[in-house]
Subunit: 278 residues, 2 copies
Amino acid sequence: MEKEKWKRSARLVDLTNQLLSQPYKLIPLTMFAKRYQSAKSSISEDLTIIDEVFRNEGSGELETVAGAAGGVRYIPKLDLARTEEILANLCVQLAKPERILPGGFLYMSDLLGNPTLLSEVGRIWATLFAGVKIDAILTVETKGIPLAYAVANYLRVPVVIARYDYRVTEGSVVTVNTVSGSSGKLKPLSLSKRSLPQGSRVLIIDDFMKAGGTIRGLQDLCFEFEATVVGAGVLAESHVPGRLVDDFVSLISVSEIHERDRTLRVEIGNLFKDKFVE
Amino acid sequence: MEKEKWKRSARLVDLTNQLLSQPYKLIPLTMFAKRYQSAKSSISEDLTIIDEVFRNEGSGELETVAGAAGGVRYIPKLDLARTEEILANLCVQLAKPERILPGGFLYMSDLLGNPTLLSEVGRIWATLFAGVKIDAILTVETKGIPLAYAVANYLRVPVVIARYDYRVTEGSVVTVNTVSGSSGKLKPLSLSKRSLPQGSRVLIIDDFMKAGGTIRGLQDLCFEFEATVVGAGVLAESHVPGRLVDDFVSLISVSEIHERDRTLRVEIGNLFKDKFVE
């Protein structure tokens, strides 16, 4: 059965779908030319239109790689205006006094359960770390997991999960001790030996950082796996004295949590202030 | 500043992007007409083209709702041929003897860490449960979490996570006892009171089911919240005698796991065989 040549309108729709659903994947132009029974020059024209729309609307860009092994890939991004809008809205939602839990924690599970918000947050991180070579995203059970996958979905790198309790279904593990900066207590943190290849370039993602004991533990695990930490991102940070980690990017900053008066202060984090990648 | 009228080609690209990035969201045509400074009739023509391409390529469809409160929404789906291809490939990957872990478990963390595979699995479940009204997806820490979010990302409903250990950051919780069908041991399972509104329609998602003690525990939790379970999906089932749950859909079926000989049998699950939703 001979395939029919696609019309430009249908080609534009399908190309957009193909690119959006496979971020970072380098797709050879010959693949598209064959799929649409169209000349490469026509495909190139289509890609120029798509790239222009994506850039104008702040949703990313197409990267073209020349040569025999070349092709085109979609780099998802989110523009600054939309990023600020999303984070400002998140600040308002987090600033509600009823979120304050015993111990100076904040109830965030409802927000972490919202797939649209997660997708937006994932896109923000994917934009911040777009220029960085990353082999894996490392997080810790339980609340870091949805955030790690939200980023991974845009950067298309695997997620590996460290655990506080050893699980039989993990096979053999490497364990380090983490110290809770708030309580000073020790807690073992484990990572399956099979889960992270030696020498990987790792992006650490977690939900909430106080003293940074968890992030520090994840860094220690990376050291054990001879992996390089290329960045660390937390959704929210709450400043406490004696911090164990300096180099991280936070989207939200929480301070002045007064459990008794039920007041708190929520601002946009350090993402616009600091350089955060090596 | 007056907005410029968009060309059809740019409109098709942006419309496709807008629809794909907001599954299930009803978007009024007037919103698009304003965004593109174009007549509603032109938008309707564009939507017809997009719907046709999506349906032909098996990646979903557009649903148009007439009337003043109407609009268009994207329903993500995956066609049968691609579903079978993905599951057959997953079977091959799971059938490797080195995946067998002590206790008759299978190492699946690498697969659960792969965002592309998760996205495909999420789309398969989104297709299976496309006609069902769902308010929330319920899963249990830790390995069910990425799967639950993968589905949620297509169905755009919130994820709620039950936990085996009570966490301070959850606020007050409801706890039930689950019985491990394999070992007969009791284990408490908790869900934050704030996380699931009374009377919700719930889809349960988990990674691996043997006797079904976890799924049964999640059903019990739903009962406590006066919620209706509209379906249950597991990535893989392994048949054991004395099963506690009948009504579930599995994508993969694992049997004849022989730890000693390191052999096992992996097939496509019951998703094509049974009716799975109420």
